[in-house]
Symmetry: D2
Subunit: 154 residues, 4 copies
């Protein structure tokens, strides 16, 4: 079974828009917080979104997100499953499932998403290779691809 | 040449995060405002994000967004090009380019994106077919696919 | 000693602005979530920000907020103390202290604030009197005034 | 008559919360953008929120805001009047009126507010005295106090 970190995400009253559901752009913010949480796990080789080596940092290259069900504001936190789907030379891709509960495997999946992060040099802004600590840390979270329901480029 | 609506997007000081650039999730909010603008053009058959027929409304089905260059807070608005890339039976897809100026075709392209919207029935929540007014209005904005630089599912 | 509800407030990476601190406007959002939490405690006579009686709802009349120390993003939640400072005929005032920890009475107080809420009729938009259930529920949380350090109207 | 800068504030669909009005915390963000605009006028002695002298910057000390009428999302920008109500040794206070139009003196006043900003030293974090350029620039915008309708500490 795939290793997955389930991050509790406290909802805010203001996450809902005038449609009365959590706004679609807020989901993309939730991905960020789940990602920050995974990358700041002890021994990750990263510090929050920045690599420990202060000369490098990570940038978002792309997101893909599919909305499956509305999410509503609640006193109970949502749960964001986050894992790694691929590790490249200077980039890696995360997979996510946003669910309406933090209980593992339970509840309704409201969104599926993936993000490609790129490691860049702070001075030049150019991609740099992930080091062994980082590759090994990311490797512990490698799982399946994101089970998107629709195909890209529709 | 493709028809494109360029929507001026006033930046806010708070759009930047602690990296000193406009946050990646804010770009997804910018897409929303460009989309609302296009769908509320006179004769569009839509009212903001809602179809004039109050029994139907549109939902975001999926986003794909690629980040190409950082965008910084400025007194001058960014420009979001928005157009239609495809019209289906009960859905349609928008293409976007977020640029650091509202001048047509000028400046730096900071992000490319696409969104699939689904028309649903307010009661049942199920997809309903676009009517002729809507298809015709969307048809006026049909252009090329989004020139994403990376392939999906990396 | 004053009765106080300490609400854990999970911070988000994006709460920080380009100054590298939680943005001043986000604190005002934190007050909202603390308020929603207090007003949705069992037996409060309110449901989230709305009174159970669907014909009435509460509006923000005014805020006063004083910033005492910067707050930084952290994996650990901030703590928002919230209580009631006054109950009027159709309004009530909440007091808050935003601290950098949820541990009662500990940590650094980053902001002090107060909010006056007004109960209004959904149809007319005019103030209506708080009923006995609401007055009694609010009365359980009545404490001291907010110890603002600066005087108003500077 | 008081000198006032009227800043056009483009509304975003997501500024509205599930009550169907612009959220109360967003108004506080609008104040920030009006303030940034006033402080970045040519010859102001400030650069955005930072003083030109890179060793100093400004911090929000306190806000007071009174909500008078709901504001709704619209294609037309809101107008934020901003001026100076007081200049102290190391602080100054801004007054604001948020109106539903950019036309001077017209429309509905949705909120009145004031903010006290403090000039501090970047190294020590302690207040420093405003210099003559800054005092003179702020002096050009000095006007009346904010005509709040309710008294503080209600």
């Amino acid at each position: 079974m795939s290793p997955v970190l389930t991050v509790p995400l406290q909802l805010r009253f203001g996450d809902e828009d005038s449609y009365g559901h959590v706004n679609n752009a807020r989901f993309v913010q939730f991905l960020e917080d789940a990602r920050v949480r995974l990358l700041s796990e002890p021994g990750s080789g990263f510090t929050f979104l920045e690599v420990t080596d202060a000369g490098h940092y990570t940038l978002v290259g792309r997101h893909e997100i599919e909305y499956l069900a509305p999410l509503n504001f609640s006193r109970e936190p949502a749960g964001v499953d986050v894992w790694i789907t691929a590790v490249g030379a200077s980039s890696f891709t995360l997979g996510y499932a946003v669910r309406d509960t933090t209980e593992p495997g339970a509840g309704t999946t409201c969104a599926l998403a993936s993000t490609t992060m790129i490691l860049v040099d702070r001075q030049s802004g150019r991609p740099v290779r992930l080091n062994e600590t980082q590759r090994s840390a990311l490797g512990q979270w490698i799982g399946d691809g994101v089970p998107f329901r629709r195909t890209s480029g529709a």
